[in-house]
Amino acid sequence: DQQVKQNSPSLSVQEGRISILNCDYTNSMFDYFLWYKKYPAEGPTFLISISSIKDKNEDGRFTVFLNKSAKHLSLHIVPSQPGDSAVYFCAATPRASYGKLTFGQGTILTVHP
């Protein structure tokens, strides 16, 4: 049972344009969501997070949007840069300090110069 789904295995974007990565979840107990970025041969690195009490969180070029009624979140990267090319994972947890994250399958983002 895939509780966190990233339905787009890959996304290709031109440098300078917006990248939108999507994530859906089914478990209504999830109330804290995170995005991780992973380069080849490296572990995932934390990018940005959002609590269910918010619907938007910004950090520089990265913005995460949460639509609780639709059980959907998205990561916007503006403007996209070639260095953003990586695998992006969304993850969810019932509590910020639960000790376990449920991850999506990942989306491979490629930003072309």
Binding site: Y36, G43, T45, S49, T93, S97, G99, K100, F103, G106
Partner: protein, 114 residues
Amino acid sequence: EAGVTQSPTHLIKTRGQQATLRCSPISGHTSVYWYQQALGLGLQFLLWYDEGEERNRGNFPPRFSGRQFPNYSSELNVNALELEDSALYLCASSFSGIMNTEAFFGQGTRLTVV
């Protein structure tokens, strides 16, 4: 400051053998988490250790086990290896149970079962 370190980087084992993977957390972190990333799948939660105790376990068979040592380093043991155990095994560490913005991952151990 040293990050989370995992060893070995690559491991090749024969079906039926045992594999031992090691993880050293960031200094000051007491929690260690193990995740499996099989081909085409997201990270699947395996185990969470904190203060030497197993706190939570994912949906994996008992042949996946581990332990945490007094210095908070951790071992993941996989017994009776099967071909489908071939995957990237990632370790993360954090302050006690705070698996959110404060968790950091190692580079992983690539286990190949032949």
